[in-house]
């Protein structure tokens, strides 16, 4: 996993709970915590940190990841404003992940293993997003989508219709956008 994911987590934890909280998390997880965005680190580090945070904060790992995703979005928007400015609203922003954002990531980090989402339209206009990854970070995805919606001043309803955590082969998430006209081409 790329170092930036750990850096963002540190920033989110520190900004909400202070630098000592991050130190505690590292201690609890048994990690030294020297992460740089240029490096790659074992996926287990993230698992350990999330578990430690869940314990400390009295939350489920799912909620920790979701919260982290939501909170990381403004930081990403500050660091990479181009991706956000290029899209007018949440829906096209989400859709640009495969075609624009992840290719850009791979330009800088050719060895990055970014997930690929498959998108389709539900009959009622909602967006169906398939996710399949051994990391099983669907909660983080939900947090990112919700954080993006917050960036665009929108709200979304995010449902896990299928979930690897529930024994499904892959995750299928249904995303309904609040100002639901905003994302659709026909509007």
């Amino acid at each position: 996993m790329k170092g930036i994911v750990f850096n963002l987590l540190e920033e989110v934890v520190t900004s909400h709970h202070g630098p000592d909280a991050w130190d505690s998390l590292l201690e609890n997880a048994g990690l030294d915590g020297a992460y740089t965005s240029l490096g790659s680190y074992p996926d287990e580090h993230m698992g350990a940190l999330v578990a430690a945070a869940a314990q400390t904060l009295g939350m489920t790992p799912f909620d920790v990841l979701r919260w982290y995703g939501q909170q990381a979005m403004p930081l990403l928007a500050a660091r990479y404003p181009g991706f956000f400015m290029a899209q007018p609203s949440t829906r096209p922003f989400v859709l640009s992940v495969n075609s624009i954002i992840h290719p850009e990531v791979r330009k800088i980090y050719p060895n990055a293993t970014c997930p690929t989402f498959d998108f389709s339209d539900a009959p009622d206009g909602a967006l169906l997003m398939g996710y399949h990854s051994p990391r099983r970070l669907c909660a983080l995805a939900q947090g990112f989508v919700e954080g993006a919606a917050a960036h665009y001043g929108e709200t979304v309803v995010f449902e896990h219709q299928l979930c690897m955590h529930r024994g499904d082969e892959k995750c299928l998430c249904r995303i309904s956008f609040s100002s639901d006209c905003s994302g659709k081409m026909s509007c």
Binding site: T36, S37, L38, K107, I108, Y109, P110
Partner: protein
Amino acid sequence: MQSSTSGAEEVRRLQRRFEREHSARLAAEAIAEEGLRELYARQQQLLLLEAIAAAANQSKSVESALQFALTAVCESTGWPLGHAYLVPSEGAKRLRSTGIWHRPQAGDMRAFFNATEMTDFEWGAGLPGRVLVTSAPAWIADVTAESNFPRAHDAMKAGLKSAFAFPVLVGTDVAAVLEFFSDKASTPDQILLRLMSQIGTQLGRVIERKRAENDLLHDASHDPLTTLPNRVLFLELLARAVARNQRRPETMFAVLFIDLDRFKVVNDSLGHHAGDHLLVEVAARLSASLRQSDMVARSNAPRHGTCDTLARLGGDEFTILLDDLSDLSEAVGVADRIQKTLAAPFVVEGQEFYASASIGIASSKTGYTSADAVLRDADLAMYRAKTFGKARYEIYDQTMHEAAINRLTLETNLRKALKNEEFVLHYQPIVLLSTAEIIGFEALVRWQKPDSDLVYPGDFIDVAEDTGLILFIGMWVLREACRTMRLWQQEFPRQQPLIISINVSARQFAQQDIVQQIRQIIHETGIDPHTVKLEITESVTMDDAERTVRVLSELKELGVRFSIDDFGTGYSSFSYLHRFPVDTLKIDRSFISRMEQSGESFEIVQTIMHLSRNLGMQVVAEGTETEAHVETLRSLGCDFGQGYFFSKPLSNAAAHDLLQASTPMANAPRAKRPLATSRSAKRSAPPCAQHPVISTGVNAALSR
């Protein structure tokens, strides 16, 4: 308190230090990321350049290389629209759309495409014209706000904003320009433009290679001297015309086969350089003789179907394919124009020279199925035109083909005749007019066919000349005549030994070893060379007069003597005549036969007599057929006569008998009258009526 203050101070300091380190790390990461991004971009550019270089190496055509480059650049840079122009011809100062694009899926840009494809961009005009002038890449941040962008209106409708273009260079010349458009305004990207320049260089190699290929193709199908199509290309175009004519028999074409008359004279006398010069000039005049409506000087591939093609087959042979004829008279019109245009003198290396051409015409009316056949027949017709006196045209007809077949058969039979020894010699007496005494014979070749037909030289000498068989026949005649005369000289010894006159043809005379051959024959037969007289026509002697002087002098040293045959019909240079070691002129029979009717002929004979006296030469009058001839000639002081009045040409046996009869040693009169022929009897008082034939005949004639 103090310690806690300093403790808090210590914490703040550490905190600042930590934040400093943190910021430094973030900055370092940002710098590194930027570097990685740039590295990635460079790698992508290298890949693009590699891909285009590879495609440039492999592409079969300039067009496919351009298409590949447009697509690759668009995909690599994310610019959605790309288009290529080419300079329409090498060195032209404008650009024309190739119609090759890389187009985005969406958007209606038809108006912009049309505006682009319909315009020839002149030197400096618009984005491509600007690149043409500077030979360097150019960038327009916003085409809708650009003053020098004629397509601005259509570009705006198509939603295009920024543009860049770069040249494809061959050497320092712009051969093509590629332009790209984006729907976003953007500032010049120098790195990108540098990359595009390199792509332009790669594509330039394709165009350069293609041009070299085209040059090779052109060279293989064109004559380097005149730049006209050569035989290969001409036959290809003719084959197309034949095929078209087979598909659509209502269409008509004709081929003119043109051969310069007397071109060899220029080449031989003025040299090959002058000959080449003349050919180039002739090619230009022929080109100008093509049909006016679509007259095109064709150094490049012609438009097919509607125009005339002039080609040089080689040497002094040219051909013209006239396509889409409405009537054969158009072809005749072209042939007439050619004769007219060639009639004006050529100036070759300061010397004026007159040329003419023999032209053969073959047309699709004959119904051809192959180009070779058309060319063969046009060639045959040309040959006919040449035979009929040059500077004229002949239209092919079937009889020419038959004539050609006959010639071929004749050639085969002549070869057989040589092998089977079917040639015989006849001998015509040459008589001293003052005494009517036979002083010698002219040996004349005949072909005794097995079926007992006797064939005269007029029916086979031309073919023998053309095929070179004359060399073998000529040598046989020389040997046989010398051998026979040697026998007669032994059998009929005289104070002045009998002389044998033998014709030597132009081709025989032109042989390098002619002197050697004649020396050999004299040696073999043992004949006294002073009694051998070689007869050469005026044209042979004057063709290369310097060589004639040399060869005749060498033969003269052997002791051989010469007469000029058919004198008066050709063109003789008196200065050369004087230098030739010739001792006899034979006045052509045409002057003798007209001597009585035409004052002019009489005067010519008289003049020749004067000339020969002044040059110290003897004169033999050929075609002496009547008493009146003999009388006139004698009064003019002519030394010798030869003709039917005295005797027709005789077989070996008959000539032998005549010699026996006319020799004073021979006592017994003979019953056989070798000179009695119905032909000579009709023409004149029968000279053979009395005995001995010759001397009495002549005496009788002289006594009147």
